[in-house]
């Protein structure tokens, strides 16, 4: 807990230094947070190129806001609020009309992107890739806000309050989103038990 609090204060401290013009602090923030942001966006839009572009935009906006930054909320909450906003906009604008095509392409390329585990046999690898495709499809079929809530809850370990701020809704709304999302995922992925 103490380590977490220290980490959060460190983010705010770094961002305040960026506000004062310290470029190395921005580099430090980038190294700390680019992976979670890119991974979150990738799982949201399920397109590698788009997720990288959106992640670039996230950090560009952070940089642009440096002169007016105030540590009124956790840095990660702010970061994921921007990321969620961009992802939801991208999804809403229908730029995912080729998402099925891109999903298929990703699925085909996934076998090369996801380095095959040398400990698995060929058959095991095929089973693994098939299960992975099911998981990705189950997530993609969730409504966008439910998807965002699940990804922040599961992969970023964010609390309900943080997710609520990122999604600009109440905590009770976040709980509702998560419970519905997990109920749907249980029905779609229960056969994997």
């Amino acid at each position: 807990m103490a380590a977490l609090a220290s980490s959060l204060e460190r983010d705010a401290e770094l961002m305040l230094r960026v506000r004062e013009g310290d470029q190395s602090s921005f580099a430090a923030l980038l190294d700390r947070h680019r992976a979670p942001v890119i991974h979150f966006l990738y799982r949201m839009v399920q397109n590698q190129a788009v997720s990288e572009e959106l992640a670039q935009e996230v950090f560009l906006r952070v940089y642009r806001s440096r002169t007016t930054y105030e540590p009124t909320a956790k840095f990660t909450t702010w970061l994921f609020r921007i990321a969620t906003h961009l992802a939801l906009n991208w999804i809403r604008d229908g730029r995912n009309e080729k998402s099925q095509e891109s999903l298929d392409r990703e699925t085909v390329q996934g076998a090369t992107r996801q380095v095959a585990d040398r400990n698995r046999t060929v058959e095991q690898e095929l089973v693994y890739q098939a299960r992975l495709a099911e998981v990705r499809q189950a997530i993609e079929l969730l409504p966008a806000k439910q998807r965002a809530a699940v990804l922040m809850h599961k992969y970023e370990d964010m609390e309900y309050a943080q997710i609520a701020k990122a999604l600009c809704c109440s905590e009770s709304a976040v709980k509702s989103l998560l419970f519905r999302a997990y109920e749907t995922l249980r029905s779609r992925l229960a056969h994997m038990a």
């Binding site: 950090f59 560009l60 996801q114 693994y128 009770s172 709304a173 997990y182 249980r186 992925l189 994997m192």
Partner: protein
């Protein structure tokens, strides 16, 4: 222990249990309950399957040139003269959220500016049909009564947003 499915706490409880986030005493209590409750056992197994499936989904590695591309974009933005930035701004995208509001304001403006005589069936109420003072007083009394009723009505729980 009452079955969590009966008191509406099953989802949150199972999520916490299968994620290993329950207090030890709560975990023991739930496991004792699940010995006899097949529905809860099934739900726990399904939720665990979901966690395991999500754990298996690992995204690709971060591209090596991510930082370089970002710094290049930052440098390009910095190189744009201040007076050129509005020209490069994507107004269609930036103003998108304001478009519905602007459209509504424009419609209201048009409504005020374009004044046409009302059709005969919409003309002002003749004097003999005007509302009496007694009717107004009765309406105000009704409103007071309704207000009193809302103040004394039992408090409702927080509404769940419809997502």
């Amino acid at each position: 222990m009452q079955c969590p499915r009966e008191n509406g706490s099953s989802a949150e409880l199972m999520m916490a249990y299968t994620a290993g986030a329950l207090e030890p005493s709560s975990q023991i209590e739930l496991e004792r309950h699940m010995v006899a409750c097949e529905d809860c056992r099934k739900m726990a197994a399904q939720q665990k399957a979901v966690w395991d499936a999500l754990d298996a989904w690992r995204p690709a590695a971060i591209p090596a040139d991510f930082n370089d591309k970002l710094y290049q974009r930052i440098a390009e933005e910095a190189a744009v003269a201040w007076w050129q930035r509005p020209l490069r701004f994507n107004w269609a995208w930036g103003l998108r959220p304001a478009l519905p509001v602007a459209a509504a304001c424009a419609a209201i403006m048009v409504a005020f500016l374009v004044k046409e005589p009302l059709p005969a069936h919409l003309s002002p109420v003749p004097a003999e049909q005007k509302v009496s003072i007694e009717q107004v007083e009765r309406a105000l009394d009704d409103m007071d009564m309704l207000k009193q009723m809302s103040l004394t009505a039992p408090a409702e729980g927080p509404a769940t947003e419809r997502i």
